[in-house]
């Protein structure tokens, strides 16, 4: 495979020619203007030039050499499930492969290409965002190592869409290089899986629906980082510092990060999912064989639902392959600690968690995680304490172990913060930590929602609990990934996990301060998700201050939400720093639109939101999500 990039190129070139011929003709037919065919062909050609990759082995080898150096400098280990790679190696000659990695960092696709190169797999062709192309030299290098560029948004440009999809399908049909793209569409700043984007996936399905390929295999890949390179950048972005434009000098500045220790990376290749068997029985493909080949397919509703399902099940698999790191356990627990350590009431008040308590809680949490069945990275050779200590050391920019043996988040221990910058800085630290907690939230979301629903219903009775569970799933469906339509299954799963885990935990001997995880597991679970409840409530509160029927542009709405949140914090009406995270607003607004509290309108100058009469109703329901600690701690 690697030996013949030239023939590969020639082949793709031929495909390109064919592609834009087809598109040109089809488009001309649609428009009914024969004269313009040539112009369209020209346009198609220029679009293809803009996005096309030109994989070349020299660049790839150089790149691979550099990358191996960089990875060695950055990471302690890159761990790969080799049996997963072998599974891919086995099928790569037979069927088109689509690699679907999770997306947490820029490093993701460099890592994927590097692994493919190292394991003698054909190098993937990667759908990358247009923004990389702007980077001088690097943009070209990425292109040469197999990236092709897509515009961020082209739903309103059907011609671009047509050319782009033909190009992608040509890669799939051609089949000798795996296609790689990120279902989540963009890097997840919050380290949670994002709701999958469906456009590219439906493009990929087309060759199969038209029987142009025998099958296509989707290979979900989970990439977990012990520490994410962009951790600070992300937090800054989330509190509203805009994303710096990708530039080569920016990358060079980033060389400082090379001196840091980013721990290990875990790459898990999932077993290939056959698209063909996914479709069989769920979709009647006769209409596709009845449509002439040159005509564009209309996506039926059934197909749309199917792609939606497929995308969600891929993301769920990605989550399933994520590795739980010691640091993610620690952050989960540290963020749980009484919030006064974020806002110590006075300078001398001792915040944080006692190390022995923390050690015990970590042990408990590990038991839970094991029960849930997640993959863990826990160096067994070392003692429990040593692992925790070294993890704390690795993240010394975020946490401190005081001389008195207390573990503290690195937020200035001054009086109640007065100025905005102070709060934003604190929020950055908290959000950086929260990202690592978010990394394992998918493990808890089902039992936690069951626990929250039980508390809300005030009973463990099935009926009311389940309906509230469904409400939670619906409300947070942008936030957490649930397979659509399987609420019942999720509920049962959550319920049984909740029951099994609660019985596992025990408090340490009496001399220690008992923490929630040991005393009341379901409260503990509720607390993990408290920041999200607070944010959604804050969004509702803000919307309620607006006049009925008033409208705001999306960007404006998000900005005012953040301003509102900041005011709340400054006035001391909230202590939850995570309500500053802008990505949650986006999800909340999307979710509220779906629930009918807002109406979304796409206009020429962007997306606008209007409040509706439903708002009060929905806001009441959201407000009822009380923090668990305010309720009697009994079940």
């Amino acid at each position: 495979m690697l030996a013949s990039p030239a023939s590969h190129l020639a082949q793709l070139d031929a495909v390109k020619t064919k592609a834009f011929k087809i598109i040109g003709i089809a488009h001309a037919e649609m428009a009914g203007e024969d004269g313009d065919t040539e112009a369209l062909r020209q346009e198609a050609q220029s679009i293809l030039r803009e996005m096309g990759h030109n994989q070349g082995m020299t660049v790839v080898r150089t790149f691979a050499f550099m990358l191996s150096r960089i990875f060695k400098a950055l990471f302690r280990h890159v761990r790969v499930n080799e049996e997963g790679v072998q599974r891919v190696q086995k099928v790569v000659q037979e069927c088109p492969i689509v690699l679907l990695p999770s997306h947490r960092s820029y490093i993701d696709f460099l890592l994927m290409s590097f692994l493919c190169y190292s394991y003698d797999l054909p190098l993937p062709v990667i759908a990358a965002g247009m923004d990389f192309q702007g980077m001088r030299l690097v943009g070209e290098m990425l292109q040469a190592s197999g990236a092709f560029y897509m515009r961020r948004s082209f739903s309103n440009n059907p011609f671009y869409w047509a050319v782009f999809s033909e190009y992608v399908q040509a890669i799939v049909r051609n089949g000798d290089a795996p296609l790689e793209f990120f279902l989540e569409g963009t890097r997840s700043r919050s380290n949670k899986s994002l709701s999958p984007k469906l456009g590219l996936l439906s493009i990929v399905m087309e060759p199969l629906l038209r029987a142009q390929v025998f099958d296509a295999l989707l290979v979900p890949v989970s990439i977990s980082y012990e520490r994410i390179l962009e951790e600070n950048l992300y937090a800054r972005e989330l509190v509203g510092v805009p994303k710096p434009k990708e530039s080569t000098s920016g990358l060079l500045k980033a060389h400082r990060i090379l001196q840091n220790d980013y721990g290990s990376v875990f790459v898990y290749f999932h077993p290939p999912m056959s698209l063909k068997s996914f479709i069989s029985g769920r979709l009647d493909i006769t209409p596709f064989s009845m449509t002439p080949r040159h005509m564009a397919l209309r996506l039926s509703d059934t197909l749309r639902v199917l792609v939606h399902h497929l995308a969600h099940s891929v993301v769920l698999r990605q989550q399933h392959g994520m590795v739980v790191t010691p640091w993610s356990l620690l952050t989960t627990l540290l963020l749980q600690a009484p919030s006064d350590h974020l806002f110590p009431t006075s300078c001398n008040s001792e915040g944080g968690v006692h190390l022995p308590d923390l050690l015990h809680d970590v042990r408990c949490l590990r038991t839970v995680i094991t029960k849930i069945g997640a993959m863990q990275d826990w160096p067994d050779a070392q003692s429990h304490e040593a692992v925790v200590l070294s993890t704390l050391a690795m993240n010394s920019s975020l946490v401190t172990l005081t001389k008195e043996g207390r573990v503290l988040l690195n937020v200035d221990k001054v009086d109640r913060p007065k100025c905005r910058d102070d709060i934003l800085n604190r929020a950055c630290t908290v959000l950086t930590c929260a990202a690592y907690r978010n990394h394992i939230l998918h493990l808890f979301v089902r039992p936690a929602f069951v626990a929250m629903a039980q508390r809300h219903a005030g009973s463990v009775e099935d009926g009311p609990t389940f309906s509230h569970f469904c409400f939670l799933v619906q409300l947070f469906s942008e936030e957490f990934i649930f397979e659509p339509g399987s609420e019942r299954k999720d509920y049962e799963e959550g319920l049984s996990l909740l029951q099994r885990c609660s019985s596992l935990l025990y408090p340490l001997d009496s001399q220690h301060h008992p923490s929630t995880i040991t005393t009341n597991f379901s409260v503990f679970l509720g607390q993990i998700f408290q920041p999200f409840c607070c944010s959604y409530q804050m969004v509702c509160n803000y919307l309620l201050t607006l006049e009925h029927g008033s409208m705001q542009k999306e960007s404006q709405l998000l900005a005012s939400l953040q301003e509102f949140a900041l005011q709340q914090l400054l006035e001391g009406r909230s202590t939850e720093l995570e309500i500053l995270a802008i990505n949650v607003y986006k999800n909340a607004v999307a979710s509220l639109s779906r629930l009918g509290a807002l109406r979304r309108e796409r206009r020429k100058d962007g997306v606008w939101f209007l409040t509706t009469s439903q708002l009060h109703h929905v806001a009441d329901a959201v407000a009822s999500l009380k923090p668990p600690s305010q309720l009697p701690a009994k079940l």
Binding site: A211, Q212, R293
Partner: protein
């Protein structure tokens, strides 16, 4: 439609179509008496049949495989494959390359034999469901019939893989016909069908028994007496109309007899399905058969002029010899492809043609299958396809190569070597990629020459090289011996089956790839040790 005269006319038209369905234009009330009349006149004497297939088929044909008892592939003393018998051009010929090809392609071994049972297992034969009243009246009519286990079993199957597999294991079928009856003429069939209606007996018409659609299998849940109506004794050409170039033929005649008898008079039908040696005329109609040379002669539906079909409600036939009618739907099109479910086809009038003056084989080599497909597409576009053109993919080409007989002289082997050198080295064809189209030209000398030129010109546009008559002829031979080869394979744990379909041009390559992919996948999923050989060939329709 509103006007009364128009209404009348349409009534009349409907009546006319109804008439086709009722056998003749007789109104409902008179039908039964008409049937009674024909019964009385059925005792006319007919010349004794000279069919290749006797009533006891097993005396001539294999009971657990394809074709004649005396013709088969076998391993001779030199451990080489030889085709036994005297009937074919290939008979007595040693095929030195075949054994090695089998071994390398399938991992077969001569030591690893899966021989068929030599006799059918009597225990497998279910006792016949008797219908005493029917049998009694049948005997009174003096129509030949049999309750013999062998006769029944040998009409319980076609030639699907699973059917042959069951036969080789001793003949285990859950349900087989209970009675075999041999009618001698249309009137016999009428009588039998009427009797069956009276006594509630079901009928499965049986012609050549080469069905691959499972249409001869008896339904498991059928509790009534099943009668297999063996048509092979109805094999006479009733008349030939040389002016109109039509012939009326009894439906039980098998392909080779029909062509031979017509040839004696200087005619042919030109309908040549791969099973033409053993399949029957009625079977062709009932299965909507397609012939190899249909580019010139047309498929069975194009050849058909008139039909007589005995249904439980009377005889279905048009009341004219006109080749087509514009009034109403064509009732024959219901019968075409009906697999014997609507009635028994007894007599067929076909278009015939004078024997062609000239017949010439040819072949073209293409660098790859895709080019070959493109070339066939162009031939179809220009409507210049010869009587038959068949494109074989590389795997089938190599298969065909393995069937090359022992070369008689050093000179021929030297020539073969030169040809190979020319194509692979000089022309740069990859022997593992090239594919071959076999051609058959038919017509008068001038047309054939002209057509030949045009075809080779088109082929050249797609990188095709003329590759000689031999290759062409061997390609067609393959179609006749392929079923014999399956039996050889089954002796050594190799099974084979063929699938046929038709599709639009732009999906040909996708179809080939996907079907092969599916075969490979299913074999793997079912734990088959060796990967399957999947080859494809195509022709223009």
């Amino acid at each position: 439609m509103a006007a009364a005269p128009g209404n009348e006319r349409s009534q009349e038209r409907l009546q006319r179509i109804m008439g086709h369905l009722q056998g003749n234009a007789a109104p409902e009330g008179r039908r039964s008496s008409a049937v009674a009349q024909t019964i009385e006149s059925s005792e006319q004497l007919k010349p004794s049949s000279a069919s290749t297939i006797p009533k006891r088929r097993q005396e001539v044909l294999k009971w657990n495989g394809w074709g004649y008892i005396d013709s088969k592939f076998a391993i001779n003393k030199q451990q080489q494959v030889e085709f036994l018998g005297k009937r074919y051009k290939l008979s007595g010929v040693v095929l030195p390359a075949l054994r090695e090809w089998m071994e390398t392609t399938f991992g077969a071994s001569l030591d690893h034999r899966s021989a068929p049972k030599s006799h059918l297992n009597p225990e497998y034969i279910p006792p016949p469901v008797q219908n005493a009243g029917f049998l009694l009246e049948l005997k009174e009519m003096g129509i030949a019939h049999s309750l013999d286990a062998e006769d029944r079993l040998f009409r319980a199957h076609g030639h699907c893989l699973h059917e042959i597999f069951a036969l080789r294991g001793g003949g285990k079928f859950e349900r087989i016909p209970d009675l075999v009856v041999w009618p001698c003429c249309h009137e016999d069939v009428l009588k039998i069908v009427n009797l069956a209606v009276t006594h509630n007996v079901c009928i499965i018409p049986f012609g050549g028994g080469t069905s691959v659609s499972s249409a001869l299998e008896c339904p498991l849940e059928e509790k009534r007496c099943i009668l297999s109506l063996d048509m092979t004794q109805m094999n006479q050409i009733l008349w030939i109309d040389e002016n109109n170039l039509t012939a009326c033929i009894e439906a039980g005649i098998i392909g080779q007899d029909l062509e031979r008898k017509l040839a004696e008079r200087g005619f042919c039908t030109g309908h040549e399905p791969d099973s033409v040696e053993f399949s029957s005329l009625g079977g062709w109609v009932a299965t909507r058969a397609s012939g190899m040379k249909k580019n010139v002669y047309g498929n069975i539906e194009d050849l058909l002029v008139h039909l007589k079909v005995v249904t439980p409600r009377g005889v279905l036939e048009k009341s004219c010899q006109g080749p087509r009618l514009s009034t109403g739907p064509d009732v024959y099109h219901m019968v075409l492809g009906s697999e014997g479910t609507l009635g028994v086809i007894t007599e067929v009038t076909l278009k015939i043609r004078p024997l062609p003056e000239c017949q010439k084989y040819g072949s073209v080599v293409f660098p790859n299958f895709a080019q070959g497909v493109a070339c066939l597409r162009e031939m179809a576009r220009q409507r210049c396809a010869p009587a038959s053109v068949r494109l074989m993919d590389n795997a089938q080409f190599q298969f065909g190569h393995a069937l090359k007989p022992q070369v008689s002289s050093i000179f021929t082997s030297f020539l073969d070597g030169l040809k190979k050198l020319y194509i692979t080295k000089f022309k740069g064809f990859d022997p593992n990629n090239l594919c071959v189209a076999t051609l058959l030209f038919e017509g008068d000398r001038e047309t054939v020459l002209q057509q030949e030129m045009q075809v080779y010109k088109v082929a050249a546009k797609f990188g095709g090289l003329a590759a000689g008559e031999d290759n062409g002829q061997r390609g067609y031979m393959l179609t006749f011996v392929i079923a014999y080869l399956r039996d050889l394979g089954m002796d050594y744990y190799i099974i084979g089956e063929s699938f046929e379909t038709s599709i639009p041009w732009d999906r040909v390559l996708d179809l080939c790839r996907n079907v092969k992919g599916r075969l490979v996948q299913e074999s793997r999923d079912h734990g088959v040790q060796f990967s399957p050989l999947a080859t494809c060939s195509g022709k223009t329709t």
